[in-house]
């Protein structure tokens, strides 16, 4: 089953819904499709709820995708209600070196993250040390 994606632009927000099996080629296609749409976008939501699997070969491409998004977009939220894909998202944003991205479980948490100015790891450290 090939991966598929749907892009939805709404003002300064771009939503990327991913489906099926993520292969390297499929992620490259997503990157090609979103690159011209990033201008003027300040928030990106990458929804992987419809993804069935993420092949090992796709992971490096996901890092490139996140780096491309981070270069143009202020905040990113990866949304999935499965821990496995939140883990993939965390790995991707960590390797991409993007502190403005976060893996969350639902649309409400995504909206909260996109509206905030927190940096992912710094916020976790602050809440650990100071809480």
């Amino acid at each position: 089953m090939a991966a598929n994606f749907v892009l939805k632009s709404s003002g300064p927000e771009l939503k990327v819904d991913l489906f099926g099996v993520l292969t390297a080629q499929a992620v490259r296609e997503v990157l090609s499709a979103i690159t011209p749409k990033l201008s003027g976008v300040s928030a990106c939501i990458i929804n992987t709820m419809g993804v069935n699997d993420c092949l090992e070969e796709a992971r490096a491409e996901l890092v490139r995708l996140q780096q491309a998004v981070a270069a143009r977009v202020r905040r990113t939220a990866w949304v999935d209600d499965r821990a496995r894909f939140r883990g993939v998202a965390l790995w991707v944003m960590h390797l991409a070196g993007d502190p403005n991205a976060k893996a969350v479980a639902n649309a409400d948490q995504a909206a909260k993250w996109l509206a905030s100015n927190e940096l992912r790891e710094a916020a976790a450290e602050r809440r650990t040390v100071g809480a």
Binding site: R82, A83, H94, L95, A105, A124, E125, R127, T128
Partner: protein, 221 residues
């Protein structure tokens, strides 16, 4: 972001792992990533702060419940390494206290990661609700606190929130390594307990293969 470690950093890791094995009974394998990201001084700062937070949680909840909170905070974040290591430590604590196997095998972590959040909660309730109601109530509360709006109600909630923050911080680097992990706690030093637990768990797994009884299946492959 990725860089080669320096000779001095690699030498430090060799020494630090040897010391960890002797003093704690285990060492972590994401130390490389911590040093790559934060340098040696940052590693020391991270180790001191996370150890202090862990000790605070152990003082408040006890070692068994601490590993429950650590294991499921890490599981939620998708970190199989820390989830495996803390669920294994939780299993060792329960086995030491009761002589019984905890209903969740550390080897099941990968299956649990694939569940949707509501399926995970249902699975935990089915497995723990009757046999370990206090532990189930704590892990359920951790899931609730994660999405809670407004100020938290109790000191316990604030400590649960700290467990979530701590493992968001830890998992930032531990996400780069994979399970299996050693038992991630002081109980790792008890080699005799580890051997007895491993034998009992292996026997239980053999029995389960003979008569499989899945509690909950993921909605997708």
């Amino acid at each position: 972001m990725s860089r080669e470690l320096t000779w001095a950093e690699r030498a430090f890791i060799r020494v630090e792992r040897s010391l960890g094995e002797v003093t704690h009974g285990y060492f972590i394998t994401f130390d490389e990533e911590l040093i790559r990201q934060h340098g040696l001084m940052g590693f020391f700062r991270w180790a001191r702060a996370t150890l202090r937070a862990q000790n605070e949680l152990i003082a408040a909840f006890g070692e068994t419940k601490f590993h429950l909170l650590a294991g499921f905070a890490s599981l939620w974040n998708g970190c199989d390494y820390c989830a495996y290591g803390h669920v294994l430590a939780l299993n060792l604590c329960v086995f030491k206290e009761t002589g019984q196997l905890f209903p969740i095998d550390e080897a099941e972590v990968h299956e649990l990661l694939r569940l949707r959040d509501h399926e995970l909660q249902a699975t935990l309730e089915a497995r723990l609700g009757a046999s370990h109601p206090e532990l189930f109530a704590l892990v359920k509360r951790q899931l609730e606190v994660r999405v809670a709006e407004g100020p938290l109600q109790s000191d316990e909630d604030r400590l649960i929130l700290k467990s979530i923050a701590l493992y968001e911080w830890v998992n930032e680097c531990s996400i780069t390594v994979d399970a299996p992990a050693p038992p991630l706690g002081p109980i790792a030093k008890d080699r005799e307990l580890r051997a007895r637990y491993a034998a009992a768990r292996a026997e239980a797994r053999t029995s389960k293969v003979a008569a499989p009884a899945p509690v909950s299946a993921p909605s997708e492959p």
